[in-house]
Amino acid sequence: MSTEPQAAAPTEAEVRARLHSAPFAMFFGVDLELRGDELTLVLPYREDLVGNVMLPALHGGVLGALLEITALTTVSLRQRQTHLPKTIDITIDYLRSGRPVPTYARAKVTRLGRRIASVRAEAWQFERADPIAALHGHFLLTPE
């Protein structure tokens, strides 16, 4: 058993500051909540996030961006790194149309290797068990 001291887990404020250091995250209006090791990304509804004005429904690119940011933020939190990993590939399944309400997303790092992380993420609105979109992706880890 290793006796090396673990680096302190980052606080919610630190993870948020890292997220919001990206101009796009500010433009997008995405925020996060961190409870213990459980990270949830939160995207409030805004009219300019819509892709279909008739229904109205969130744009596919909005759900893709939310899921990718959730995956990247979760990997860098697990890695205890400030550098963002690089996206190698993502596959997004659109399961339901996104309604004009807040959207939440969580990611699970299914494997954290030395160079690659494999990640699954889901976005939901009303019930977590009823996701509106899901992501599966691979991310290249950047050395510190």
């Binding site: 008739m54 744009h59 690119g61 961006a65 963002l84 690089k86 009303f126």
Partner: protein, 161 residues
């Protein structure tokens, strides 16, 4: 002297896609516009903007902008392949990133709807700055055709049952 009114000309593919882009709030917010449209093919451009940077250290544009550009480009190619206007919705979208986009450069997406059936459309797309031979990202997508079937305008204001 009366001349018969000319028969109404159906809108061109470029007109349909231009209307679609201007009526889509998220593509307008990102500044995405049409470059060209041809049968089952479309080319869209996303301008480089400081507020769309995804990594402040490198100045590289956010992946979320490229996925919106590729998703919308694929949707435009589907519309360019259809003979009548129908609603469409993305079923799935896979994006492979070959490299980071070059900071300061606009990104072009070129999409081709290579198969259109009654219910589903299959699309390939590539994102690049100068040439599709030097891609930033490749995408493959499937779309549902007539995705609004049975749903009324404003139906999404109600929570799902």
């Amino acid at each position: 002297m009366t001349e018969p009114a000319p028969p109404p000309t159906p809108p061109t593919g470029a007109e349909i896609v231009t209307v679609m882009l201007s009526a889509t709030p998220w593509t307008r917010a990102l500044g995405i516009s049409l470059v060209s449209v041809d049968h089952a093919r479309a080319r869209l451009i996303a301008p480089y903007r400081a507020d769309l940077i995804g990594d402040a250290e490198t100045g590289v544009i956010a992946g979320g902008v490229i996925s919106a550009l590729l998703d919308q480009g694929c949707g435009a190619a589907v519309m360019a392949a259809m003979t009548e206007r129908q609603s469409i919705a993305t079923l799935d979208l896979r994006i492979d990133y070959m490299r980071g986009a070059i900071p300061g450069r606009d990104i072009i997406a070129e999409a081709h709807c290579y198969k259109l059936t009654r219910s589903v459309a299959f699309v390939r797309a590539v994102a690049f700055e100068d040439s599709p031979d030097d891609p930033v990202a490749n995408a493959t997508a499937a779309f549902m055709i007539a995705s609004d079937g049975g749903r009324r305008p404003g139906s999404n204001h109600k929570a799902p049952r």
